[in-house]
Subunit: 210 residues, 4 copies
DNA sequence: GATGAATGAGCTTTCATTCAT
DNA sequence: GATGAATGAAAGCTCATTCAT
């Protein structure tokens, strides 16, 4: 795990916002530098290129996620459904606290970009997919979960639903007359709402009713 | 409804692909012109600017959607649940047949861009939201649908799930060993899968079990 | 043969001077544009890149040289020694009238550059070498020229001597108290001097005294 | 004569190669530092600037040359023609053993650069010119050399011919099917060839046949 | 003395756009 | 109406150099 000094972190944080707001191509290194309060040349000095800055942002954010997931799946004390609920809440939490980064991810996944990130991303997605599949299998073996679960679709519903709400929270607020709610309040509010909603879906899909 | 001549349509179609693949900022007017087989200056001549070309692409694609939705909701012959199922299939179909455009939409929604599109988008989303709310209300009045349905979350699940699968279909194929399936086959395959999956969710959430 | 318009020629001529004076790397496209009295972007518009501008300068200058040489060697009416003398005068003339270009050539040959020019240059040098070898052989067959002539060394003496004088003409003037001579006068003066000097060398080396 | 420590010498040697390969402007202080295995800032610390590093390289290489020449010319025991032959061999040897430096010299002489080097170079060339003129005069006084020798042209032939072969040795090898010869072998081979060739020229030009 | 960090100036190139015809 | 020519602005990046330690 690379160690970043204060200035580097400041640059990465500024970059994250710009990449999220304007896209990789739309973001300007000059503006990132300005936002971070550092000299333009500093960015290339520290990261080498715009591309590599992007990679650093990516690594920085995804560093511990898979490990975290792994330890959760392998936890012997939690019941499968509890694990699933934890999973849901973890994802919701991540997306809510790392909204900028989430937008970057969605964007990069969507594009036919040649960025190295995509490769890293694929690898991570596969690992995560397998971990969650293992989790589902645990529940199936205990007879708690239904057979024939399409893990990909299940995860698409989790990530898609939460991601969509987060991405379009502005519309959500407007449509539901919550314009006056502060960002912090809304985050708390929507986290609860999403948690209940997605968990209900997961239970409906997973649980064996027999 | 603006009428576009053949050349203009060719430009818009080329633009759609480029905007989808590389983002608004990443797309180059030069390359769009080349793809469309028209003179570079032609684009500004016909559309005024890159920005306005984007708007044209947007209007072109969304022209009839709300009308279509409206007629469906007001249809007196279909049962509410049948309408919901039609709604689901319509969305799936749209996203699958207009993948490029979908990617553009997701991207634009996510960004803090100043594009005029965003305004149009907000307006359209509101209209659609109200239409679907009306549909839900129809079901509730008939006692078929549960009370306390969060329409926003429900739609987020529809759009989010389908959108996510479409956006990341490459991963889906790889994860589920479908690499050898042709695009056309896969489209057919995933349409069915998504249809069943999302309808199951909608039923679980909407249907009144009492 | 590419046709260049007036502006393109102006750019190439300005480029030639800058490349000669400051080297390829040292020359700035900005300054070339300024010297040529054209917009900076114009250069990339016409030539694509600094590198390709260099190639254009090269092709422009070398376009007819090999052809000229060829027709001279194949001339049935001139005696071999007369051809050699013409060759010497032609080289001297070329170096004197195209001093900037000559400096560029010397420089590029010397450097371990990756420029495409080097390949073109090698090819041209080989062709020229073979033509001159043919010329020498003509003289040998007639019994006028000595056997065992090293064509490479002979040409090195021609090109090296003339090139060195041209490259260091400033020193030559100073050393021989010719500072007050105008450039035009000096060119005339040194052309004659070089012609006599190099022809004497060629005769001494080539002519069969038996 | 400045004394340089081991690190400084390492820097100058690395610089020489880079300046020769890429030109003064094309060479990068960063890369020189890397090649020399020293810290980037070290170079400015020791030499003040890139420019002054160049001057140091120059002084370093030319330090003893004039002295050597002087002692040779003043040598009472050698005959003038023997001196001339020694001169030729000395030049050939210098150019062959200091190829990088030679390339730098040629380049700098050619350019309209403002480097202080040029002044040093002019001064050195003048001194050398006078020494060689003295040598020629010795031969003329003894009736061995022809009158009316243009020392500048004579030296141009020596330096030009040898320099051209050295600069374009790659072509020489290819043209004469010597690609498989090692650098060391070729150096030996071409030294002999050049020696014979140039001495023959010098004799033809200098020697009084009456 | 020695150096990692930092920077202003400059580089080539590409961009969306405009204009003259 | 249609387009080749042209351009100002801005992009990412590298440079030689300096400075604080």
């Amino acid at each position: 795990m690379a160690e970043y000094n204060e200035k580097q972190v400041r640059i990465m944080e500024a970059a994250e916002v710009h990449f999220a707001d304007r896209g990789f191509e739309g973001a300007s290194v000059r503006e990132i530098a300005e936002s971070a309060g550092v000299n333009l040349a500093m960015i290339n000095y520290y990261f080498g290129s715009k591309e590599k800055l992007m990679e650093a942002v990516f690594s920085h954010r995804t560093a511990h996620f898979t490990l975290q997931l792994e330890s959760m799946v392998n936890n012997k004390e939690l019941e499968p459904m509890a694990k699933v609920e934890t999973l849901v809440d973890t994802y919701i939490d991540r997306l809510l606290t790392q909204q900028c980064f989430h937008r970057i991810l969605v964007r990069e996944q969507m594009m036919r970009s040649n960025h190295t990130i995509v490769d890293q991303l694929v690898k991570m997605k596969k690992t995560n997919h397998n971990l969650i599949k293992a989790l589902i299998t645990q529940g199936q073996k205990k007879g708690l979960f239904r057979k024939n679960i399409d893990v990909s679709l299940l995860m698409a519903t989790l990530v898609g639903t939460v991601g969509h709400v987060v991405s379009t929270q502005h519309y959500y607020k407007e449509t539901n007359d919550l314009q006056d709610m502060s960002d912090e309040e809304f985050k708390k509010y929507i986290r609860k709402k999403l948690s209940v909603h997605v968990k209900a879906i997961f239970k409906a899909i997973l649980s064996n009713e027999d």
